[in-house]
């Protein structure tokens, strides 16, 4: 259970945005992965996508982020029609954590803070919230998989963007890590942010919508 000892920093206010996915169809080669998938994600909502391996959870997240062009359907952020908007609104956590082996979390997170036009002050409080503040000067190659993932989650939070797309966020995390992830997601939703996560684990996020992608083939 989330032990809510974590203190989260004060970031500039989020601009909550709605995400609407309508009639999305995705395929890989000649295999249809997702057919006619629709989703309406309001600010503050969370969605947990599950389904067996190969059902297209990752591909669907990548389509929402704009990396994959869908066969049919639309992904609309906020009010305007959009394809490039994702680059302003989405914070992404993929299979890989986006860390360079020789870089320490401090170097990496400062770089991404600058890239996303955010201050560097929240780095330490967010690392503390994920319980990795003591690793701030250790090169990523010497962090465990779970520690790298926690660091990537800090990067996601640091971007201060309203819509989080997380692919297996809890994959390498231990029990404590999952509780801290849940607290992080809670905090994000309390600020008007929304989350879509693809996961195999039974994550306990209060009030999260659950979608079984196996049913959309």
């Amino acid at each position: 259970m989330p032990t809510m000892t974590a203190k989260f920093p004060d970031l500039p206010d989020l601009q909550p945005e709605r995400l609407q996915v309508s009639g999305l169809s995705l395929s890989r080669g000649d295999i249809t992965l997702v057919r006619d998938f629709s989703l309406d994600l309001a600010p503050g909502e969370a969605v947990l996508m599950s389904g067996p391996n190969g059902t297209g959870k990752t591909t669907l997240l990548r389509a929402i982020a704009g990396f994959v062009r869908p066969d049919a359907g639309r992904v609309v952020f906020g009010e305007g029609p959009k394809a490039d908007n994702a680059a302003e609104l989405v914070a992404w956590l993929g299979h890989a954590d986006g860390l360079k082996p020789v870089e320490t979390p401090r170097q990496s997170l400062r770089f991404w803070a600058k890239m996303n036009d955010q201050g560097r002050d929240p780095i330490l409080p967010l690392m503390r919230a994920m319980a990795i503040e003591s690793l701030i000067d250790r090169p990523a190659s010497r962090l465990s998989r779970g520690q790298q993932r926690r660091c990537a989650l800090v990067r996601v939070a640091l971007a201060n963007r309203p819509i989080w797309l997380l692919d297996e966020p809890a994959g390498p995390l231990d029990g404590g890590g999952r509780a801290r992830l849940a607290a992080l997601v809670d905090w994000h939703r309390s600020r008007g942010g929304s989350v879509i996560a693809a996961t195999h684990q039974s994550l306990d996020w209060p009030g999260a919508k659950r979608i079984d992608l196996g049913a959309h083939r």
Binding site: R62, A65, G66, F67, V68, R69, A86, A87, E88, V90, A91, W92, G94, H95, A96, D97, G98, L99, K100, P101, V102, E103, Q107, F111, W112, K114, M115, N116, D117
Partner: protein, 222 residues
Amino acid sequence: MSAFGAIFSREAGLAWAGGGGPAGPAAFFLGAITLAPLAIGPAADLLVAVGPGIMGFAALLSVLQSADRLFGDDHADGTAELYLLSGLSLPWLVLAKVLGQALATLWPLPVIGLLGAMMYGVPVLPACVGALALLAAIPALSLIAGFAGALAAGVRRSGLLIALIATPMMVPVLIFAAGAGRSALAGDERALANLLLTIAVSLGTTALAPFGIVAALRSRLG
């Protein structure tokens, strides 16, 4: 602009920390120009004649040597996805990245080119013109290598694909850069023309290649 400065300095730093900085291309370049005379033979007039050409040719190969890491690493560790979602202007982003790495890894090439040409017996002035031409060729060579590297990102044994894509595209800049050194050796006024053409190719590549690199990165993620 601070974000692009951050990319530039990060790439330069990563090239030093993770890839040995300029050691790889420099060692490759030195090895090639040291071995070539052993194959060509010891005739002094022959070595003077081939000197400028060998310098241009060996520099081109040493740029290709590290091309697979330029975007291959970003593709593998998830950084490429984050770049696409950064909200920054992507052509500027990849330009800052490629030039940052070029600055960190390729700066010895003109120096080695100058010393190597003199080692082959080329007089100082033509050797300097050849080294200047190499310097002018670095943006074109590194951006073409970056384009090939982006197209091959995530492909196993990408080195083969990069060599096949990049070598034909490097033909003009090789001809002009090596031509500048050769014309200067012959005391020919075309040396300046060749040098200017090398700069022109580099400027044209700087203007166009970033768009190609962005398109290649996108298609490799799709």
